[in-house]
């Protein structure tokens, strides 16, 4: 599995369990058809990087995985479980939608990091990280705090635990957001352009955390424009254009030997 000799994650080579599977996913907002027949398979411990020009549907595809968007057609499976609907169709062929509480339970196993952080501004860094374990999992406050402090330490922010987001730099805020997502012990992590809102010099501190997560064997889907990161960390690079997945493969195949003209043009503009 691992395409990257510098990142020999334990167990990654034999991990073949499918974590994410997208089958024929379409999404349209009214007349706007933003995802067209997308297929994607991400296995346990794998890092999939989605690249493509803006408006190509990368973020929408990512948001379909944790049901922030509802696919118009097709299915999203996490660990072979259909997301958003009851496992089997009703006798009349329709699919039973899940309740919002059931959907929340499905989402709680998937961590997500946003381009613009979306930290809770009225809570400290520690409060941000503790919020979901206490409110969703019902973890006792003391245990949640211990865990949150350990996670903040892990992203290098132990000394910023009591600061509010407005008192942190962009890179620090994004690292708190990563710790907040990790606090739910997610099975996989989604990153929606995690460094796009950052100043160039703050990008590396966030990418370092992402690389460490990948090295620890976290299953990740990352939307990014950082080709260096994709080349170094990705097991699978997926190129999207106008709502379609045009090419996919190892970084060597996709970044170094692009087949389609669209991908060649895109790479010429970002590299």
């Amino acid at each position: 599995m691992s395409q990257n000799p510098q990142n020999p994650a334990p167990g990654r080579a034999r991990a073949a369990r499918t974590v994410i599977q997208l089958d024929g996913v379409h999404k349209s907002f009214g007349d706007l058809h933003v995802l067209k027949d997308c297929e994607l398979t991400v296995r346990s411990g794998e890092v999939a990087v989605l690249v493509g020009p803006s408006g190509s549907g990368k973020s929408t595809l990512l948001r379909c995985i944790n049901q922030l968007e509802e696919p118009s057609a097709g299915r999203v499976l996490i660990d072979d479980v259909v997301q958003g609907y009851a496992p089997d169709p009703l006798p009349d062929g329709r699919w039973q939608k899940l309740t919002s509480a059931q959907i929340a339970a499905q989402r709680s196993r998937i961590g997500m990091v946003f381009q613009r952080f979306h930290l809770f501004p009225h809570l400290t860094a520690l409060g941000n990280v503790m919020e979901a374990p206490v409110q969703v999992r019902g973890l006792p406050k003391a245990a949640a705090e211990k865990k949150a402090r350990a996670l903040l330490d892990r992203v290098g922010l132990a000394d910023r635990a009591d600061h509010y987001p407005s008192e942190l730099s962009g890179g620090q805020q994004q690292r708190v957001a990563i710790a907040r997502a990790l606090a739910m012990d997610p099975e996989l992590m989604l990153f929606d352009e995690p460094t796009s809102a950052l100043d160039p010099e703050l990008v590396s501190e966030v990418l370092t955390v992402l690389k460490d997560l990948a090295a620890d064997g976290m299953t990740m889907v990352v939307v990014t424009h950082e080709m260096g990161f994709a080349r170094e960390v990705a097991d699978q690079v997926v190129f999207m254009d106008e709502g379609r997945i045009l090419e996919r493969g190892t970084p060597e195949q996709v970044i170094d030997h692009p087949e389609s003209e669209r991908l060649q043009g895109f790479l010429a503009s970002v590299l």
């Binding site: 009225h122 910023r160 509010y164 008192e167 962009g170 160039p200």
Partner: protein, 328 residues
Amino acid sequence: MTITPNPAPSPSAPPPATERFTPIRAKAAPRPGTWVSAVIAALLVLGLIWFLVTNPVLEWGTVATYLLDVKVIQGVGWTLLLTVLSMVLGTVVALTAAIMRRSDNPVLRGVSWAYIFIFRGIPVYTQLVFWGLFTVIVPKIVIGVPFGPELLSFSTRDLLTAFWAAVIGLGLNEGAYLAEIIRSGLNSVDKGQTEASKALGMSNGKILRRIIVPQAMRVIVPPLGNETIGMLKTTSLVLAVPFTLDLTFATNGIANKLFTPIPLLIVAALWYLAITSVLMVGQHFLEKHFGRGFDDRTPATGRGRRSRQAAVNSAGTTPQNPLPEVEL
């Protein structure tokens, strides 16, 4: 996995704040307008004081006698109680109505719209008269099976005293206004907050209670303070119920007995001003509480912009504003 919490500043980083420098010796720019306006204002104030002291109609002796009269103090107490209770009722009703207004459920949205339409559209005086007559219109409340046996019944006369009629009347009217204020406050919270909470698996109720409402309060509290001060003065209408123990009724009663309306009006005005001052102090602390994490100028932690600037400096760069929605 480890990364350095505070990367060492690069050589190009700004020098530390402790470096010595000679401050600019500056003389203020001339501002003649300030002096002209100060003189005009001083003359007007002097004239006003002269008028207040020398005008015999104001009867300051009577004002002093009745400022701390038992009836007046009791009136202040009742007025405060009416204000607080009706604002509490109004806020609870308004929060419910605002949340219903945002609901996916069309029935709840409709009920909320109808409540706001009716209670905002009828003058509060009319509503107070209505609540005063409620016991006549609805003498008995019966709980039971429709068209079937009665399980429980109460006489409204025993339950709805003039005081509670006044509280309900004022509270329900206020709730209709506050509902719109709270709704706009809830809408002011960035949609990304809801998405981030959903992504963490939080339920809709928890998202509202833990994430949206605390942030909306920052926007809601200033107009809420305004409405509370408005309510303080609206309580003077409760004689429509009729409820006859509030401050305005008490001072009017004394004035009618003595045939001296003017000094008693001054007594009432002074007390309303005093209560308003106290309410403003309360509002200040509420704003400070709900502004924590938001305001760079007066952060609850006393750190704010300086801390973020320090964090930015330690990273060796100057970011563009990364969270524009936080800086209002």
